[in-house]
Structures are given as C-alpha cells and as structure tokens.
C-alpha cells in the first residue's frame, strides 16, 4: 500500500511539472503585454521597461521558469503584478472558496445521484426507472449556467429564500453555507445525472451476482441487500469518478464564481489570464494542478481502502 501511494505521488509530481512547463510555454506564446495592462495607458515606455525589469519579465523564458521553480520550493509563488501582494496569499485566499464550492457540488451529486441510481436499479424497467433515466440525462444535458441563472431568479429574486451574490460574511458559517447552496447546486446538478446513471448500471451488475442471490435466498430484506451488500461494491466506480469530478469542478467552478460573484480560484485564474498577470496564472495553476493530482490520488487510495480485492492486488 505504501509503495502504491509513493508511486502515485511520484506520478502526481510529474503531472504537476508537465502542466506548469506547458503553461509557461503557452503564456509566453500568446500576445499581450502585462506591463501595459498593469500600468494603464498613461505609463511611459520607460516606466513600462522599469516595471518589466522589476518583475523579471525581461528575462528569457527559461530563466523565468527556472526562477519560478526555485521559488516554488521555498513556498514563494511570486508577486502579483497589480497589487504587489504575494501570489501565495492571493491563491490561498481564493482556494478555500473553490474547494468548498466543488465539495458541496459533489455533495449534491452524492446526496441525490446515489439514491436515485439505487432506486432506479431496484425498480428496473418500471416507469419510475424510465422517468428517472430521462431526468438524469436532462440534468446532464442542461448547461450549468442556465441552471444557475434560473435558480438565482427563482430562489433569490422571486422567493428571496437564498442569497444571490457573494460568499457570505466572514466568520458567519451559517451565512457562508447559505451562500453555497445555489452555486453548488448549479455546478452539481450535472453530476447528479452522471452518478445516477453510473450507480444504476453498477447496481444492476452487482445485483445479478451470486452473493446477492444467496442473500436473497436467506431471506434478507431487499433494502438491506441493496444498501449493505450491493451498494458497497457498486459504489467503487463512483468513487473513482468522484475523484476526477471534484478535481474537474475545481476548475469548472469558474462560471459559478462569475454568475454568483463569488471569490474563487477559477475566477482568479480567468482574470489573471485576461490581464496577462503571469505570476498569478502560474501560481494559481500550480496549486490547482497539485490539488487535482491530490484528488485523483485520494480517490485511488480510497478505492484501495474500500475494496479488499484492490488492496490485495497491490
């Protein structure tokens, strides 16, 4: 198990390195001058040149990349071109909001998708199963931003049940949670559909296996068979998907951060790319890539922990 964890960690490091190298190449290929954007139209060419030198933007790309990597090992991700603040501070201020949003989005998916999938599998080919199937596909098909806008108009504007914008008052957990409900639902709804279909398919496979037939022969209640014995196995592919899902939502949450005016890593990277704020782009992508790798690694380890067969094969 330890060897497995080490092997996967090494792979995660390689992924992070490749992502950053690729990103560094891309941000210097695209046109646009960070000095012009940061200093505005009134800056003279001399002021812009001084700014580029101060930020190290006048150095060759390979030197900048090497400097970036050497600073990363000391926990220094650079300085924001606009506010002169440490990129590390900026990224770690934004990241918790995105992690909370992505986690709650996946929370919706688990809370609704897993029971729906089980329910469909238990009533295979019934009209309820078919309706659930249609709803699940519809949830996948409807664009998340459409869900976001209608949810906002209904629950925030019309009914005034939930807040519309922002992330809630700092230090007020209840307010922050209330601000998470709509955006997390908007980003999680598509995953409800995915999980419902995946769990249903896995459940049907598992429900046809011998040990389930044996359990039925012993007269165990169907609910117990499904939730205690079948779901345990059927949920394994779901765990792998959730690892990717949560990592995917970390970057995919950007639309929710814009529509709901929430701070977050996705919006941070988007803004930084648009303004050619290279230090913030590099720093934020490094951290989110690391998080992505960590999520997939955690999913692998969780599967190994949940499934004795996988553990035994390591």
């Amino acid at each position: 198990m330890l060897l497995f964890a080490l092997r996967r960690s090494g792979l995660a490091c390689a992924i992070i390195f490749c992502a950053i190298a690729l990103l560094f190449g891309m941000i210097y290929i695209v046109p646009g001058d960070p000095a012009s954007v940061a200093l505005g139209p009134l800056a003279t060419p001399e002021i812009k040149a001084a700014f580029r030198a101060q930020m190290g933007l006048d150095k060759p790309i390979t030197t900048q990349f090497a400097l970036f990597l050497s600073h990363v090992f000391t926990g220094d991700l650079g300085i924001d071109l606009f506010s002169n603040r440490r990129v590390t501070d900026i990224v770690f201020e934004a990241l918790p909001y995105t992690i909370a949003l992505a986690s709650c989005g996946i929370g919706w998916a688990i809370a609704l998708g897993v029971p729906l999938g089980c329910w469909s599998a238990m009533r295979r080919d019934s009209w309820l199963d078919r309706i659930t199937g249609v709803l699940a596909v519809a949830a996948i098909a409807v664009p998340s931003f459409v869900v976001a806008l209608y949810a906002l108009l209904l629950f925030a504007v019309e009914l005034n049940w939930l807040p519309a914008i922002g992330a809630g008052e700092r230090g007020d957990l209840g307010d922050q949670l209330a601000h998470l409900v709509l955006p997390s639902f908007a980003i999680g709804l598509g995953w409800v559909g995915y999980l419902a279909r995946l769990v249903r398919a896995s459940m049907l496979e598992v429900l046809g296996e011998n040990h389930i037939r044996t359990a039925r022969a012993y007269g165990l209640p169907e609910r117990r068979i499904v939730f205690r014995y079948a779901l345990r196995l059927a949920v394994l592919p779901t765990v792998a998907l959730l690892g990717v899902g949560i990592a995917n939502l970390l970057s995919g949450a950007v639309f929710a951060e814009i529509v709901f005016a929430r701070p977050g890593a996705g919006k941070l990277v988007f803004d930084a790319v648009v303004t050619r704020n290279f230090p913030v782009v590099s720093g934020a992508v490094l951290v989110t890539t690391a998080l992505f790798a960590l999520c997939t690694l955690a999913a692998d380890l969780l599967i190994a922990w949940l499934d004795p067969r996988v553990r035994a094969s390591l």
């Binding site: 001058d33 807040p163 409900v181």
Partner: protein
C-alpha cells in the same frame, strides 16, 4: 493508548451528515444596528496609492479614506467644491495659493494634516523618480511652497488648464500623510499607513468586499451611513440580480437592461441614466493599405450607419457622438452629424479606383462591440468592402497597435475603440498626437497642427479660446477620414428609493456624499 477506530461507514455517514447540515443551515440574519450602504463596484481594489492607482474602484475608495484640496460636486455639471482646503485661489496662471482647514486628523496618531503633506503628495507624483503613470497630471508643477503650517502655494512652470477639473479633484490631488508614508517606505497598495477621509478602511476581503466605517475624527459634514460595503461584481447582469434580490442598494446597470429598467423599475427603486465621458469610435490605420487612401476612408465615414449601431449595440439609449469630447465638457462639438450617404460612399469608392477591398476590423470581445462590428460589416459590404471581424480578449487587444511589440500593427486595418477619460478635454485628445503613433494612436494619423493645438490648449487659460482649440482638433480628426465617431455611451444606475446617491455628472459615485432618504 487507545487506538482511534473509524469504520468506513462512519466516515461516509459523517461526511454525508456534515454536507446535509451545511446545505440546510439557516440563512444568516443580518442583525446589525448600524446603517449600511451596499454598493457594487465593477472591480476590486488593487492599489489605491494615488501615484499608482489602477482603475476607478481604487479612486472610489481613495476618495472615501483620503481628502483633497477640492473635490467634485455631485450634480449634472462638472464643478468642484472645497474639501480639505478652507480657501484656494488662482493668484495668477502659474500660481495657486491654498489654506487647509484646521483640525484634519490623520489616523494612527500621525497628527494634523499640514501643508507639508500637500507638498509631499503633489511633488511625489510629479517626481520622475517615483515613476508614477500619473506624472502628466502634474506635468507643469514646479514646486509646492509651504508658507505656514496650514498654508502653501502651488507654483507651476507654466499655466495648466486641466488643474481645476482633472488634477486637483481627481486622484492626483489626493493628500497623503508625509510622516506615515515615509515610515512606510513611501509606498502602499491597499493598506494605507494613515488616512483622514470621511471613512476608515475597516477591512478588505479580496474579491468579496471592502468595508468602510465612518471616521469618528472626520471634521467635515457627517456622512449618512455608518458603514459602506463595496462589493466587486464584474458582471453587470449579476449585479442587477443582486439588486433585485435586495443584496445591493446601488449598482450600475448594463446598457441592454436600461430600456426595461426605465419602463418598469423593480419596486422601491429608481433608475437614472447619465451621459458617460467615454468615447467610442471606428478608427482606420492610415499607414497601411487599404486605408492609406483618404478616399476609401471617407467612403467608410459615409457608409457607416451610426444610428443603426446605436440601435443594435446600445438599444437606442445612447446618443450619437459628434467627436471625442462628450457633451457638457469644454470643447464638445455642437454640430449635427452628417446622415448616412451610401451613394456618396459608392462614388468615393469608384473615385479611389479600388474594388474587391478586404479589410479586418479588430474589436474587444464584448457583446456590444460585436453587435456594432456586425452593423459596420453589413454597411461596408454595401459599398464593396468585405470586412472580417477579429474579436480579441483584452490582453491581446490592448497591444494590437503597439509598435514596440513588432509588426503586428501592420495587420491592423480598422479598430473599434473605446476610451474613457477624466472631465477635462485634454484627456480625450492626448492619445492622437504624433508622439502617440504606435503607442495609443493606432490610426497612426500624423497631424502637426493637432499636436501643436494640444500643447497650446494645455496652457490656455481663456476658456473660450481653449474650447475652440479642442473643437478644431476634432474637426481635423474628422477631416483626416481616419475616424468615425460613434457614441459616448451612457451610464445607467439603479438604487433603492431609500438612498439619495451622490454622483458625478457621468454617474460615477461620490460615496461619502450618499445620503439616506426618508
């Protein structure tokens, strides 16, 4: 030692219950005994050091926490009123004397504001060593002479007409605490070492909100609100939803929402439309084919249907521009723009001897620009010019005409541009002088007369003469054929009817002046 034993089921169950409790948590009650004004800003603060401020949101906060000798009056005309100055007067074109109000206290125990602070603040921006992009605001400053603890004289090397409307009441006129700044290595970004304005910066939550609280030591008129919360919301539609959900008291609106909001505003709210100072134009690069031919440029001027652009891109709420200087400002061209003339345009095309002309039109990837570009594309197709629209993100767009970035400017045929400005005409014209060719003069139009007029107008103190100079400069722009003036846009605002906003004529906020309406 007992070993903590956690089963898989407990982990899964715990996680699920935590999530459910999170989702079902009651909405926070806003139990506050203070009067709070919640306003939207289009961006977060980044750096409100007046020598380096990045955008309007920085200035909005700076004007709350600092003071200036004079500040803008709210209302429909660009006028100033005394702020930190008890008295200020133009002694002669090159000399301005001032006396500060006594008892203006700096936070952090830095004592009273003195004339030394004024000297430090203005000379700091003018000093080339500071490398301030706003050095031009104090272009002709010689020195600030301190004549007493609270009095001083601003000496200019030569007269400077924009002083009263776009230097002293704008960011370059903000006064900093010399002692506090020197103790902070002469620089801050979002954490000023000492402030003195109507409000104090209580907390900045990046990308979330800036919280200002009333300054108990402020000796000016007491601000109406105990607290101001400024929320950075980039998307105007999101801000409108936030307003409708009663989470904002004041916000700017999108142009596309204005017709609906004006005809049926949300209950308990008011909508206002202000003329903006921005200017939008279609520019043609005179240094590269096909628009190095003036007949072709004139043909474009005649062919573009500006009224159709205003309908398509600005929903009929914006007026047609006659130049780059907005109505209400000195130098505005009070003329009736020529109507569209397709036949005249075709005739000019024929005279130019060109056919099958292909050209690119560069735009910023914003909805209204794309709509405007599509109208232009259709208009020019009628006279035989095939236009390809190139939409760019802001990072790319703003370097398209920059000659220091290589030869990409040679690919630039037409560009749909929008600039904004402070309320002095010098801000509008300075980008089109010959020295700006390849910097911000992307049309690369080179007029010596224009450049000379710009220099003269900066030091002309006779308002009438100065106004005539700016009118002439816009005439020259139009005669060059390189410009099609489109609009100055509008700025829509919406606010609760319990709020009495203090706004500049173009709809920009003067937050300390906001009042509560009974």
């Amino acid at each position: 030692m007992r070993r903590l034993h956690v089963t898989r089921r407990q982990v899964i169950g715990g996680a699920a219950s935590l999530w459910v409790s999170a989702a079902l948590a009651p909405r926070a009650a806003s139990a506050q005994g203070t009067s709070v004004l919640r306003v939207r800003s289009y961006g977060d603060i980044q750096d409100f050091d007046p020598a380096f401020s990045k955008a309007a949101p920085d200035g909005d906060v700076a004007r709350c926490v600092f003071r200036q000798l004079i500040t803008y009056k709210s209302g429909n005309s660009w006028e100033w009123t005394l702020d930190a100055a008890a008295e200020i007067k133009q002694v002669d074109p090159k000399t301005v004397s001032f006396t500060l109000k006594p008892g203006i206290k700096w936070s952090g125990g830095f004592g009273e504001m003195t004339a030394d602070d004024v000297k430090y603040s203005f000379e700091r921006i003018a000093n080339p060593a500071t490398k301030s992009p706003y050095k031009g605001d104090w272009e002709t400053l010689d020195q600030v002479e301190v004549t007493g603890p609270l009095s001083g004289v601003i000496h200019l090397k030569e007269a400077f007409a924009p002083l009263w409307l776009s230097t002293l009441p704008w960011n370059a006129g903000i006064i900093l605490c010399k002692k506090a700044m020197e103790a902070s290595n002469n620089r801050f970004t979002t954490n000023p070492p000492a402030t003195c304005g109507a409000y104090l910066l209580k907390e900045w939550q990046p990308k979330q909100q800036t919280i200002l609280v009333r300054n108990p030591d402020y000796n000016g008129p007491k601000p109406a609100y105990d607290e101001i919360r400024i929320r950075p919301i980039e998307d105007e539609k999101t801000a409108e939803i936030g307003f409708e959900a009663k989470e904002l008291d004041f916000t700017g609106t999108s142009v596309s929402s204005l017709p609906k909001l004006k005809s049926s505003p949300p209950a308990g709210s008011k909508v206002e439309v202000h003329p903006s100072l921005a200017y939008v134009w279609l520019g043609m690069n005179v240094d590269v084919p096909p628009f190095n031919d003036i007949k072709l440029r004139r043909a474009v001027q005649k062919a573009v249907d500006v009224d159709a652009i205003l309908q398509a891109a600005y929903f009929g709420v914006a007026e047609r521009a006659t130049g780059i200087i907005a109505p209400g400002l000195l130098g505005h061209r009070d003329i009736k723009p020529a109507p569209r003339d397709v036949e005249g345009a075709k005739k000019l095309m024929a005279e130019s001897g060109k056919s099958g002309v292909k050209a690119t039109l560069a735009i910023l990837n914003k909805t209204e620009r794309l709509s405007a570009a599509q109208v232009i594309q259709a208009n020019l197709a009628e006279i035989g010019i095939e236009v390809q629209i190139d939409a760019h993100d802001s990072g790319t767009f703003w370097s398209l005409g920059d000659a220091s970035k290589g030869d990409q400017w040679k690919q630039l045929h037409m560009v749909l541009q929008r600039y904004t400005m402070a309320p002095d005409p010098s801000w509008a014209v300075e980008w089109f002088v010959p020295e700006q060719i390849g910097v911000w003069n992307w049309e690369r139009w080179n007029s010596t007369e224009f450049g000379e007029l710009n220099k003269k107008a900066l030091v002309e103190t006779d308002t009438k003469k100065r106004g005539e100079m700016y009118v002439r400069m816009q005439d020259l722009m139009e005669e060059s054929g390189a410009y099609v003036f489109i609009t100055h846009e509008v700025a829509g605002v919406i606010y609760r009817d319990t709020v009495a906003p203090a706004l500049m004529p173009d709809g920009r906020v003067i937050l300390p002046g906001f009042a509560a309406r009974a």
